[in-house]
């Protein structure tokens, strides 16, 4: 239970940073932290105490009770989706920097004119 709470705290930290910061790179950092927290929540849900990684042991060795493999497959997908959005947002932020010369949201709004 406390692991889920810590995970939700990390998620709200990420959202807080993305919502309240004025610097574009800090906003991207906040979104990345929120993505980390959601991926962590997914794997936490599938964990089994004393579980074994979801790889079949060689025929001879003993095969313990496996951890839930489904969240692992889905988290692989959402990690790369997180990378895709971070890369696109970083590219847009760099282009904004070239146009306005600053990463600060308020200065951008003033320069918009």
């Amino acid at each position: 239970m406390t692991a889920y709470i810590l995970c939700l705290i990390l998620f709200s930290l990420g959202i807080y940073c993305a919502v309240s910061k004025r610097n574009l790179i800090k906003i991207i950092v906040g979104v990345a932290i929120a993505e980390y927290a959601v991926n962590l929540m997914f794997v936490l849900v599938g964990y089994r105490i004393g579980g074994v990684p979801p790889i079949f042991a060689a025929p001879g060795e003993a095969q313990g009770a496996m951890v839930d493999p489904l969240p692992h497959a889905l988290v692989l997908t959402s990690i790369v989706i997180g990378l895709a959005t971070t890369a696109l947002l970083a590219a847009i932020a760099m282009r904004i920097y070239r146009k306005y010369g600053t990463y600060d949201v308020n200065e951008i709004r003033e320069l918009r004119g």
Binding site: A3, Y4, L6, C7, L8, L10, S12, L13, I15, Y16, C17, V19, S20, K21, R22, N23, I25, K26, Y36, N39, L40, V43, V45, G46, Y47, R48, I49, G51, P53, P54, I55, F56, V67, D68, P69, L70, H72, A73, L74, V75, T77, I79, V80, I81, G82, L83, A84, T85, T86, A87, L88, A90, A91, M94, R95, Y97, R98, D104, V105, N106
Partner: protein
């Protein structure tokens, strides 16, 4: 289990550093640290596939972010955040944790997953797909459609970056 809680609180500390530190480069490096902590937590939770992917994906994310912040005359990010945003953020944090307490009690406790559908993957994964890595058989056979969608997301992002960073948007428009 203690190691899990220690790593989680370290990650929260790292996130706080990443949010509140003034200079951008150290903020990006702090996020890198949080990502590394996440990769270790995945190892603790017996998820080697995910830990490996998280590690390498996080390295390239940090490279891209540093590429965005380096070689620029960057004043430290101003300390005073948008007041409206601070209230919104903190209020949201408290609201989310409080509202989700009853729901968290109801989902299975940490360490005792239901695995109703996942049981079929584990039992006849080897027989159906021949792959000994169950996660690989889930990604590329049982739920290969997800992976097709996911590969398309990355493809879209790459085309998006190409579109956003091409040198001239409108024909005859100004360069850069």
């Amino acid at each position: 289990m203690i190691a899990l809680y220690i790593l989680l609180s370290m990650m929260i500390l790292g996130a706080l550093v990443a949010i509140e530190v003034r200079s951008l480069i150290s903020s990006v490096v702090a996020v890198g640290a949080v990502g590394l902590g996440l990769s270790l937590v995945f190892l603790l939770l017996k998820a080697p596939d995910v830990a490996l992917t998280q590690l390498v994906v996080e390295i390239i994310a940090v490279i891209i972010l540093i590429r965005a912040t380096i070689r620029r005359q960057l004043p430290g990010s101003p300390v005073s955040a948008r007041p409206y945003g601070v209230l919104l953020g903190l209020g949201f944090a408290v609201l989310l944790v409080l509202v989700s307490l009853p729901a968290l009690q109801e989902i299975p406790q940490l360490g005792h997953p239901y695995m109703r559908v996942a049981e079929t993957y584990v039992e006849n994964g080897l027989r159906d797909t021949g792959a000994t890595n169950v996660v690989a058989s889930v990604i590329l056979d049982y739920r290969a459609y997800d992976t097709l969608g996911e590969a398309t997301v990355l493809f879209t992002a790459v085309m998006g970056v190409m579109a956003v960073l091409r040198n001239r948007g409108l024909k005859g428009g100004e360069e850069g």
